[in-house]
Each structure stands twice: as C-alpha cells, then as structure tokens.
Amino acid sequence: MSFFKKLKDKFVKEHDEHEQATDDTTTQEDNEEQTLANETQETESTSSSFDVEEPDGEVHEELSEAEEAAEQEGIALKFRKGLEKTRSSFSGKINDLVAKYRTVDEDFFEDLEEVLISADVGVNTVMDMIDELKMEVKRRNIKDTEMVKEVISEKLVDIYYGDDQSGETEELTLNPDGLSIILVVGVNGVGKTTTIGKMAHKLKQEGKKVTLAAGDTFRAGAIEQLDVWGERVGVNVVKHAAGSDPAAVIYDGIRSAQSKNADVLLCDTAGRLQNKVNLMNELAKVKRVIEREVPGAPHEVLLVLDATTGQNAMSQAKTFSEATNVSGIVLTKLDGTAKGGIVLAIRNEMEIPVKMVGLGEKVSDLEMFDPHAFVYGLFADMVEEYEEEK
C-alpha cells in the first residue's frame, strides 16, 4: 500500500469530524498569516486538510472521485479546494525534500538526524528512526531516491501514529446531551488560561453555551486574567477569592453551569511542576470532585504543552497522566520558532493525541491539530537550509 493511501486511511475519520471546523471561515482567515509564518511552505492546508470517505470506507485516489463524493455529501466548494491543495502540498513537499538529495547517503541521514533533533523530537526517537530507515533501505535494497522517499515519509508519520490503527479522533470529546466538562492542566506558564479563553471563543462560535471556572486561586492575578478572557469572549466566569480551595471553585463552577444549562464548562487550574507531589495530589482531588459530581466527566483532560519545551515534556505527560488521566494535548506557542517535536514521542509512547495547537495570543489563534502540517513543519528547515546552500 502506498504511503499516502495509508495516511488517508488513518486520517479519514478525523477528517469527517473536521468538517464543522472548516466552516468556521471567519476565524480561520485571521489565522492564516500566523500559520504561514510558522510553516513557510504550507499554504491554506493547515485549516483544511481533510479527506472524504465513502460509506464503504474506500478512499478515492482520484481527485475527481473525491469531488464527486464531496458533492454527494454536500460539502462546500471551498472545502474541496482545500483538500486538493493539501493532497498535493503534503505529498509534494516530502517528495521534494528527499528528491533534493540526489543520493541517500550518510550525509542525508546526518542532516535528517540533526534537523529532527533540533525540532526536539528527542535523540532516542531520532536514532531509532534513522536506524529503522537505514535498515528498511538496505532490506529492500533501495538505491532509487524515489522509493527511499516513500519509505521515509511513511516512517515519519508512523512515528506519530505508532501501532495505533484505531484512528483515534483528534476531535474534542463532548457530551452530546448535557454538560461537558473540560479540565485543563499543565506546568507553569505554558498557556493554560489563554487556551481556555481561545477555546471558549471557538465553542461559543459553534453555538455552545460556555462557562469558565477560575480554578487557579494561587498565582498572582490568575483570577483577574481569566476574568478578562471571560469578558473578552462574553462568557460567564465562576470565581472565588484568591487563595481559596480550587476544588471548591470547580464544584461551584459545575453547579453554576448546570443551573444555567451550559453546554461546556472549562476548568482552569494553577500551573504546577510535575515533580511537586502535593500539587499533583491537589489536582487529582479536583478531578475526583468533577467525577463525583457529573458521571462521565471530565469529558476531556487537556494537558497544555509549550512547544518551546524540550525533553521534559515527556515527563510532564507521564506524571500528569498518572494524576489526571490526560486525554489530549494542546501544543501552544507554535507561532514561535520551536517545533514541539517531543509530541511525536509522547504520542508514540503514551498514545496521547495532540488535539489542538496554539498559534498566538489572540482569541482566534487556536486550531485543530493537523498531523500533515506538523510532520512537515519538523523538517521544513532541512528543505530551506538545503536550498540556501545551493
């Protein structure tokens, strides 16, 4: 099976669920500049990398067929355009990259190693991967760059998905009938509160009624900060005085959300380093309160990771998962020059998917995660550097 066919199969489910997000064009457009800055070569694909699946599960190779299917399902023209672009851009770019290296030799692998390490993928992951690549190339006795590039692309995306063929969705899991509770956790300063503000905006735009709970009662100005976001977005904020018990705030948040018939309650928590046992216990307690008050909740526990963070993010993912059973990651600050490559290893080892990415400080700077764009972004530098050298 060709790599891109595989890729499509893997992504099919996610894409269906993305449709709604694509329709939200007003905010997407604001983001485009930022996205462009981040992934220089990637055009509109970030917000519209979707594929279409027919009821029988077959994926269409031909664009015309995809178009047909899209028509049948009543998908907007704009969406199809995006699809077309992504398909050619992602495959095209990975191919271009490898094609630039005439021969696949030690130099190539050394460059690849460096570019991935400098994207924070992690030296162990990178070395394993390169070993596998080399073996695969040898095993199949590949000399032709054309074929090598397919193997390489395959491995790169494999590393994100690992053995997980279940096609786990990167969408937020929400309670279809009743209150959904989302708990947001992470170390200090990664962007939890800001992400909550952005999420509230996004959800509100989707027609949902949102309440925020100011569960960070510790940090100076944390409650005021969430309050400003609440005002900015136009949603209700439940808060107690600074220094009070976070679990009590969350409890009140739930009560308030229920009485106001809110669809989503977003719970902010104080930043805490994962090696602080007391603080991690406090967080586990907050989660227990939510579990006790609303059966099935929290519907998501989102771990916010700063893309600038290096290998320590793995330890964050592990410890926060132990305390709160993290269901997804929000990778923030991808508008900077850091790549956040560690999420590959996290996904691979712990099977926690990235659900959203933060691309700036504005209310609209939040996007659903696009693995294509992300993987490409990891070695975009390799393409650029190579081109500069020439």
């Binding site: 170390v187 100076a220 380093l273």
Partner: protein, 447 residues
Amino acid sequence: MAFEGLSDRLQGTIQKIKGKGKVTEQDVKEMTREVRLALLEADVNFKVVKDFVKRVRERAVGQEVMESLTPGQQVIKVVKEELTDLMGGDESKIAVASKPPTVIMMVGLQGAGKTTTTGKLANHLRKKQNRSPLLVAADVYRPAAVDQLKTVGTELDLPVFEKGTDANPVDIAREGIAQAKEDHQDYVIIDTAGRLHVDHELMDELQQIKQLTTPDEIFLVVDSMTGQDAVNVAESFNEQLDISGVILTKLDGDTRGGAALSIKAVTDKPIKFAGMGEKLDELEPFHPERMASRILGMGDMLTLIEKAQDQVDEKRAKELESKMRSASFTFDDFLEQMDQVKNMGPLDELVGMIPGANKMKGLKNVSLDDKQLVHVEAIIKSMTKHERQDPSLMNASRKKRIAKGSGTSVSEVNRLLKQFEEMKKMMKQMNGMQKGKKGKGMNLPFM
C-alpha cells in the same frame, strides 16, 4: 524514563573508564558518545554538543591525560572541566548605577517567568542589599498583567508604577524612572510583556525602551525546560538588545536544563540567578558547576566520588560494601560510616548529590538534620554489643533503657530503628541495580 537509562549508562561508562590505568582512543570515543547522548537528552543544542564533544575528545587523547598516572580519572576531570568552563563562573552580582536609580529591564518569551522574577529580584535587592526598588508594569498586552505585578508588589509591600493598559510601554518605562527619582527609589525593575524573538514590532518596542532608559542590566528570563530552540531565542534577544545576563527559571522542576549550556555558549553572557519556585523568595545565585553535573544527569556524583576518596580507606570501604551486599550491616558499621560521613560535609548536601536520591522512597523518611546525628550517635552508643549486631532483639524495655541512656525518647529510638531498616532495604535496592547489566557501580561509603 529515557533520562535515567542514559545517566545510568553514562555513569557506567565513567565508572569503567575511571579505574583504567590506560585509556585508549576507543575508550575515549565510547565515553564521548555517551556524553553526547546525555547532553542531547538534556536538551543541550546539537551544535553546542558537537563542539563540546570535539573539544573533549581532543583533550582526552592529549598529553595531560595520557601522561597522567590516573588517566581514567583525568578524562572524567576533562569532561567536567569543559562543561563547567562552558557554563561560566558564579556571577550573581547586580549592577549599580553611579547615579541612581539603577535600571533593570526584564525581557523574554511568553510565560518564561518575567513578572514573578521581577518580584523575586526586588525582594532580593531589598533583603540582601538593603535597596528600595520600584516595580514598573510595562506589560500592557497580557490580560491582567498589571494586576499580577500589583499583587506581587502588595505581597512584598513594594511600590508598583503603572498606567493601566492604554498607555504606551515606552512612556510607562520612562515615567516609572522619573517617579523613582522623585521618590528616591534606588532601583527600577521594568517588567515587559512576553514576546517572540521573531516578532519585529514588539522587539522594536524593547529597543525603544532600552534607548530611552539606558538600563544598567537587561536580564533575559528563560524557562529551564526550554529545548533546542533556546539558542535561537537567546541569540536573537542578545543580538537585538545586547542583554547583560540570563535568569533561568523553574529549576525546581526535574528538567535537566541543558538550555543553560546552549544559552551560555551562544551568547557568552553569564547566567546570574536561578528561579527555584513560585514564591517570591525562591531565587538563588546560579551555580554553574552544579548545573554541569545536573545536565549530565549525575547529581554531583563526581564531587561525591572525589570527597569519598579523600575520606575513605579503600580497603575498609570494600569490606563494608561486601557487608552491605550480604545485608549483614550492623549498627556498629553504621556508626563507623557516620564518622566518615561527618568528615565529608553536611548530610543532606551529600545525599542531594546522589543521582536519583530524591526519588528513592526510603530516603524520604530518613531525617537529614546534622544535629540529629548527635542523637543518633548517642542512641547507638547506648545499645549493647548484641543489640548493635542484631536489632531484632529490640523490645519495649530495651528501647526504654536505650532512650534513657542516650537522653532521647523511645519514639526517637523507634525512628532510628525504622530508618536503619529502610537503609538496609535501600542497600538491597542499590545492590539490585548494581547487579543489573547497566552496572551503576555505586560504592558510596555510607550506604
């Protein structure tokens, strides 16, 4: 976790090379390979690692090592020296302007810890240097940034200059300084908004503030968990602002903190302070040497080994080690160990040097207060010979007698007995590690 595997491996390699009477080029190659991995896993930038490994390799196969009587140890020394060199010396001084007020500008990426560190620095200046700082709220972008700084000011009972969020940060900075002059405040610390080094508009704003206020210090605040991107950030901030120093935050976490090395390497500016917690008194002078060891994942293993060697009679240490293995370690041995340990320095400091010690369950309950050692000694000395050899003899009346004899309480005796058991358990654990193929090779005298 990857780190631990790596530092085990590294320690294994070091242990191996350490005892060697002759070091071959192959040995050096093997060791530098492990060092390279350790550094990369610790988030040191790959370019910095490349240069570093090259230098170590050159020195390690050079004369100083080859002609040394203990080449193995010499190689280790080279690694540590190079690493410490790269980190720079202790430099936690803050400039003083000839004409007050001294102006300090805080800059850095979003969420690095600028506002918190502004408070910590002010607190430090007042407490340690008897200064009267004014905090200036020049972040008009982040929601409630002004409130945050005001809260910090209230907590410290220090004045905060602010003009809300409608004013221009450049004006705020300038007026803040004027205010400080008027009020005879001798330091001004300007808290600026977090920004990306590639955000031209906002970087331009910092340059304007710099031009207008001619700060005596520009501190780049960097999160110690930062990965490979640290070089880009530091290089860029330094190029655009010519920073005077770096403050590393969140070092109370469990990151290896390789960013420190990268930053020093690309900017050659000193890392002056380390943020060790969220509270406003949790700022410490930065110790490059400790950081060097931390990055290699060795605790202060090397120092510890050196210290141990100074104090311990090799032969006796071997005997004790075998006792530990056979779990026949007694209170008499314990007493002897304690004497040696006392010669090495404060106990908690020593334990802190053991890699992974803070993660060891048994250690959590072991009290590390030096004063308590005196009690411990008294208790053991009040035991009979038999009791020292076989703590299982202990019953209520014996405990009472011992407590009386040592001038302590039964509960203290109980605590010591429990600690002793825990220690023995720990020894077993360590033995287990030693037997594992990674070979940690721990033979610390007091364990």
